[in-house]
């Protein structure tokens, strides 16, 4: 690349047309309104007294109090949190180990794996959902014909499915943190008498921890609000929050739905802030 002086490529700001600046400024404002207006309306109408939740008729926290008594919704929330927690733990451990293997070692089939690793990220979610559904039907059928054991889709099939798409995201984030890792640090550890396990726990893991936590929080958020894959793999009898919300919206939008959505929004935002806070503490 040729080093072009900055002034040659970019005219001084004083010469920029005022009209252009105004139009771009206005565009920025409109874009932000477009992005956030629906969310503001959602939050606002979770506090309205209007039963249909589409008009502002007065302030109430009644819908939130109702949620607290809604056992179906609470049950769905607990299930969803459980799925997200277990799927996050499994995909974080597997994803971190996979990232280490891909980044550090050469082994048979590594290049092919490298190419296929990101497929679950770009593949249409509906395709992934149908693939998982087909896989479970096939696997359960095979198991039954071989051993007579009858398995049905339940919360564990959802967990396995969430792990399947979360791992790729964890690998991407952890690999990024491994890219800048100075291998001399591990050599220094060995030099000072640390065996390979100790090096991993005392040096490598603490240093890539921001990446691991980032990957885990991403996996948790993705699992928490996943609808399509959950819907296809949950089977009857298990209630999950996004599926429950979808079921209720089909009947009627009520401020209760707005309220639960607002809670989910707050939780997701809190997780993002948490991950940023953790990473800043590390520095």
């Amino acid at each position: 690349m040729i080093d072009v002086p900055v002034s040659a490529t970019r005219p001084p700001s004083a010469n920029r047309s005022t009209a252009g600046r105004r139009i771009l400024g206005l565009h920025a404002w409109l874009t932000y309104i477009f992005l956030y207006a629906p969310i503001v309306i959602l939050v606002l109408f979770s506090f309205t007294t209007d039963t249909f939740g589409v008009r502002w008729t007065g302030f109430t926290i009644d819908w939130y109090l109702r949620l607290a008594r809604d056992t179906r919704m609470i049950n769905a929330t607990v299930n969803t949190l459980w799925v997200a927690l277990v799927a996050t733990i499994i995909s974080t451990v597997c994803g971190t180990l996979l990232a280490l293997a891909m980044e550090r070692y050469r082994f048979r089939g590594r290049n092919g794996m490298d190419a296929l690793l990101y497929l679950p990220i770009v593949i249409p979610e509906i395709v992934m959902a149908l693939a998982l559904l087909a896989f479970f039907s096939f696997a359960f059928g095979l198991l039954e014909s071989l051993t007579g054991i009858k398995l049905r889709m339940n919360i564990w099939t959802v967990i396995v499915s969430h792990v399947a798409f979360c791992i790729s995201f964890v690998v991407v984030v952890v690999r990024a943190s491994l890219k800048g890792f100075d291998m001399r640090l591990e050599e220094a550890g060995a030099d000072l008498g640390a065996d390979p396990q100790t090096i991993f726990w005392r040096i490598t893991l603490p240093l890539i921890m921001p990446g691991v936590i980032g990957g885990a929080l991403l996996a948790f958020t993705l699992s928490l609000d996943d609808f399509i894959i959950s819907f296809f793999t949950v089977g009857p009898g298990t209630n999950l929050l996004p599926v429950e919300v979808y079921g209720r919206v089909k009947r009627a939008i009520t401020p209760s739905i707005n309220a639960i959505s607002t809670i989910m929004l707050v939780v997701s935002m809190a997780l993002v802030f948490l991950s940023q806070f953790v990473q800043r503490q590390r520095d």
């Binding site: 640090l185 060995a190 030099d191 000072l192 008498g193 640390a194």
Partner: protein, 366 residues
């Protein structure tokens, strides 16, 4: 010096191949206990690979490595009683300075009560007494270098390996650290193996120097031996400056041999190694061993020369003189006068006579 006759590190026919490149080629070394030993050579000569094999980060393709008499070439790094100071320092960024230094002691299961005083002593030794609670990032390059040194020395290793540890420091700090390293080494009496491409650094600190080139060991000797009696043209050229004159041996005598240079001149010098009449050789003469005089001195061998270039650098005047169409020599003249008189200094175009003691003309066969 704490040098004794026992060996700290012995390498026998150590070879390291990476795919089809031979990085280290059948090296034999015997490094003595308590010695400050340098491995010197241009980048890619195999010195760092040799060091990494002694540390245990690389395993030799063939050959034997012994530490304090025990064969270790297949022992992994964490089980060897050596410590390394890395070029990039490799301090653990998530630990404080004190935690960095304590790490090796923890790994050796030193009792907790003993760790703190030893860490404090190590910090005091490198003059960083109050820096224990800081993070490596908060220290300057020179301070990080000292922490890396303390982290290695606190373990009281048999051998300390240093991989161009001063490379990242500026010149002034580097000179200070050279003196300090030498002082430390004499104080603790640990064998230091020091890898560098800087010949001045190696000459300043070392008891002995090994010169490496293209994976091979060319010469091992004291700084004086390496400088005054280089065994090959490469060593003479790499350490210090030298004039080289190619020629053919015409007479093998004692103490001096005669060489006919390309322009027909017959020159006398000391033969290094063995040769025979008719063999192609190179004469090497250090520029500070040449004398340029206005009148031809009597009764000694001398050659007429014309001054082509004069560079005054304060302590020396560096002259380039021409002997013939094909031969020029660099002559360094020490400025041991104090005068502003222009005539006291050589001028371009002046005629003079170059003289040298044939003891200082080394006839090199390699």
């Amino acid at each position: 010096m704490h040098v004794t006759n026992t060996s700290a590190v012995v390498l026998q026919q150590v070879t390291k191949r990476f795919q089809n490149v031979t990085a280290v080629d059948a090296i034999d070394l015997d490094i003595r206990d308590g010695e400050f030993f340098s491995m010197l050579g241009p980048s890619g000569c195999g010195k760092t690979t040799t060091l990494r094999m002694i540390a245990g980060f690389e395993f030799p393709s063939s050959g034997v490595i012994s530490l304090a008499g025990a064969q270790v070439e297949k022992v992994p790094a964490h089980l060897r009683n050596v410590n390394t100071v890395f070029q990039s320092y490799a301090l653990f960024p998530h630990m404080t300075v004190a935690e960095n230094i304590a790490f090796g002691l923890e790994m050796k299961n030193v009792p907790r009560a003993d760790i703190k005083p030893r860490v404090d002593a190590a910090l005091a030794m490198v003059q960083l007494g109050n820096y224990g609670a800081r993070r490596p990032k908060q220290l300057s390059g020179g301070q990080q270098q000292r922490v890396a040194l303390a982290r290695a020395l606190v373990n009281r290793p048999k051998v300390l390996l240093l991989d161009e540890p001063l490379g990242a420091l500026d010149l002034k700090l580097r000179k200070e650290m050279q003196i300090e390293l030498k002082r430390l080494q004499q104080e603790v009496g640990i064998t230091f193996i020091y890898v560098t491409h800087d010949q001045e650094e190696a000459l300043t600190m070392s008891d002995r120097i090994a010169v490496m080139h293209q994976g091979k060991l060319l010469q091992v000797g004291s700084p004086t031996e390496i400088y005054e009696r280089p065994s090959s043209r490469f060593v003479a050229d790499f350490i210090g400056e030298a004039n080289f004159i190619d020629g053919v041996v015409t007479d093998i005598g004692a103490p001096y041999c005669t060489v006919r240079a390309s322009n027909g001149l017959e020159l006398k010098g000391m033969l290094q190694g063995a040769s025979s009449v008719g063999a192609a050789v190179t004469i090497a003469i250090r520029p500070e061993k040449l004398r340029l005089t206005m009148q031809a001195p009597e009764n000694v061998f001398t050659l007429a020369a014309k001054v082509e270039q004069v560079v005054y650098i304060g302590s020396d005047t560096r002259l380039t003189v021409r002997l013939s169409d094909t031969i020029t020599l660099d002559v360094w003249e020490q400025n041991n006068r104090s005068t502003l008189d222009r005539d006291a200094y050589w001028q371009r175009g002046e005629q003079g006579f170059v003289t040298w003691n044939p003891d200082n003309a080394l006839i090199l066969t390699a």
